[in-house]
Amino acid sequence: AQSVTQLDSQVPVFEEAPVELRCNYSSSVSVYLFWYVQYPNQGLQLLLKYLSGSTLVKGINGFEAEFNKSQTSFHLRKPSVHISDTAEYFCAVRSKEYIFGTGTRLKVLA
């Protein structure tokens, strides 16, 4: 069965510092990969997706992620975070259905 592992449950980072949120998946077949963000009391919003093609994917709000097939990873990065980036971030993989990770809470400190 497929699984998604987000190794960090919480990531505190100072404003304007870079951040990386880690995601690893297990799958022996082709997958589609996603990052979603969830602000308090809201649903999930798509940040970016990897379906095929270039392994470096750019998303909204300055986020990007790199698909690494050999390491089965899809880490999310942002070179300079803002207070408004404070939220829960979910990595997801889809072949037959979506499987979500347990989430990483990003807390941006002033």
């Binding site: 809201q42 997706k49 979910f90 979506y98």
Partner: protein, 117 residues
């Protein structure tokens, strides 16, 4: 354009009761999926419907059921509620259930928060 809309936004039930949650997809989207998000966890897949037919089912008991209507809206029903059913129930719509680009992108509603006492 309206996004995915869900109702009610919040509700409180007692153990043993039944609940119905409703979802309207984005215009043009024919597939609706339901997810359960327990506090501190990622969303767990419950159902996917496409063209009124069930296309996928997650590991949930038969107390959970759903249906999709001709206008592509959907309802999720949960019978005999347990305390453990307390969660945020998310509805997501997409163009279709397949593997082509558009069908792979889920758009989520804000969710219905169910509290079971």
């Amino acid at each position: 354009d309206a996004g995915v809309t869900q109702s009610p936004t919040h509700l409180i039930k007692t153990r043993g009761q039944q609940v119905t949650l409703r979802c309207s997809p984005i215009s043009g989207h024919k597939s609706v999926s339901w997810y359960q998000q327990v506090l501190g966890q990622g969303p767990q897949f419950i159902f996917q419907y496409y063209e009124k037919e069930e296309r996928g089912r997650g590991n949930f008991p038969d107390r959970f059921s759903a249906r999709q209507f001709p206008n592509y809206s959907s309802e999720l029903n949960v019978n005999a509620l347990l305390l453990g059913d307390s969660a945020l129930y998310l509805c997501a719509s997409s163009l279709g259930p397949g593997t082509y680009s558009g069908a792979n992108v889920l758009t989520f509603g804000a969710g219905s928060r169910l509290t079971v006492l």
